[in-house]
Point group: C2
């Protein structure tokens, strides 16, 4: 890791990055060399005030636990679900956080006296995944969580597109007779490989429904085997879309479902391989060799948020893995 | 049209662009102001030698008919189907031209003594469509011809991607139970809206099968109506993929099927509108307002090839519409 993305002309040494999820905040402090100097997880608050407070307390707790002062923090970057206006530092429609519209950067800056920058969580994670996985050139980060979305990173920079829908592959239909999606369409990629859609289709109680599906499929349950196949099929479709439209070199897969580890990776690889069997063109793309899974517990999302924050003083983020 | 893409430090005034198709070459001469000063169409030869000869004779005939000398030609750009190595000026697998592997730029330069540059035809057309339609920012050019492919242009430059498959949306499957594609997969976008696939599914004789399908559909033929719906559905799916992955602002539609004019455009618009009806998310994208059709007979492909040629002396092509 070089310090290209982390240099801070103001002399403050540390960049804090926060991945703000529906239940918890993952916070890291990154030094000028790009090394992670501290990390902690805190519960996320619900609603505008509680979200701001939980973010502020995550930063102060991180400083305390890691042994640095707030004065050492050059910037805080936040990755947060919802529609983010990066320039204004505002987030809208973060429904899982009880937030309708929040001037997050301004509110957090007023609370802590440190510059904040806000980015959509998947885009921030994409930036972090590109840096941590050492992928140069072009890559997509495919997030398989409750929902499905991707972020595209080209030469170390987030690809924004024209209207902020770059990488929204979760809502492309790949089966006109498929399950109804929460978005209103049928057979969206997300209905195949989104954790929320799969848990709903499974319909049985349990804290870890996707793991239950995999275990039941291993035990011979045909419904579970079908849903597991759907997951592999949907993720493979998302990979194909990203390569055949934006032509990224590598697709890095992250998100909650990566807790399944090799059970997930080998299944997606096999689906890509099987999908290419009849097609010399698809075989020539070698898609099964162009995916990689983030390790479970990877700090990519929070690390990417730190890179987003670092861009307050850097015009361009050019991390080198 | 400004002269940004056409300035020629060598003093030669004109840029020639050739769109080399399976049956004919469309040739234009573009002056330093970006205005088209001459245009003609010639038959394309079959096989390496004949392709080179027909290209050379198209340039000399264009010069003769338009009243300029070869010495006035600063560059010739060629858009040609197949796998193009832009740096080497080579084209491989141009099966419709009987070409396996041809050092086209070198051979043509030896014949005419003018610098040549070669580009994939859809990518060249995308560049020309972006310039002629005056689209700034990001756009995709969706070519509906015998096959289906797209080119992406960002800020006036062709988006190449990692391995040359950017915009290959024709071979994304959108229906696992769909027709078998020439590529070996089922339900590819191209099986829905490629002229070759539709003509094959139609299976009746006629020089203009897609027009026949539209006419028969108008007359109440249910098979024709189904195929026409497929065409609209497939083109709409391609538009969705381009916006939800690369997030281009506008999709400009070109290629042979645009001879159908408003019958095509209104149908694709209606399919996009209908596909968004149940989905507030898709409605918010206003896709039906983000497509436009190239006028029939548009010189976009040859004009784009002229821009490609102009890049011999210009490091970047930045046309302004």
């Amino acid at each position: 890791m070089t310090d290209a993305g982390m240099a801070d002309p103001s002399g403050r040494r540390l960049r804090v990055g926060l991945d703000v999820g529906g239940t918890k905040i993952d916070a890291v402090a990154v030094d000028a060399s790009g090394d992670i100097r501290g990390r902690l997880r805190r519960a996320t608050g619900w609603g505008d005030d509680a979200v701001v407070e939980s973010i502020a307390s995550a930063v102060t707790a991180l400083a305390e636990e890691s042994g640095f002062a707030l004065a050492d923090v050059g910037s805080v970057g936040i990755g947060i679900p919802g529609l983010v206006d990066v320039d204004a530092g505002r987030v809208d429609h973060a429904v899982n956080l009880g937030v309708q519209s929040l001037d997050l950067a301004t509110r957090a800056e007023q609370t802590l006296g440190v510059p904040f920058r806000v980015e959509n969580d998947v885009k921030a994670a994409a930036l972090g995944a590109a840096a941590l996985s050492g992928v140069a050139g072009s890559m997509a980060y495919l997030n398989l969580g409750t929902g499905v979305a991707a972020g595209i990173v080209i030469d170390g920079r987030i690809w924004r597109g024209a209207r902020g829908t770059a990488g929204e592959v979760g809502h492309l239909s790949v089966d006109p007779r498929g399950r109804l999606c929460g978005c209103g369409q049928r057979g969206c990629v997300e209905t195949f490989c989104g954790g929320g859609a799969l848990a709903k289709a499974w319909g049985r109680p349990g804290a870890l429904p996707i793991r239950d599906i995999f275990d039941a499929a291993d035990a011979g349950d045909p419904q579970a085997a079908g849903l597991r196949d759907d997951l592999f099929h949907g993720a493979a479709a998302a990979v194909r879309v990203l390569v055949l439209s934006a032509d990224v070199e590598t697709v890095v897969i992250g998100g909650g479902l990566t807790a399944l580890g090799d059970r997930l990776e080998s299944g997606i690889r096999a689906a890509l391989h099987a999908g290419a069997e009849a097609s010399p063109f698809m075989r020539s793309l070698r898609l099964d060799e162009r995916i990689e899974l983030l390790p479970a517990g990877s700090p990519a999302a929070a690390f990417g948020a730190a890179l987003v924050g670092a861009s307050i003083t850097e015009k361009e983020i050019v991390p080198h893995g």
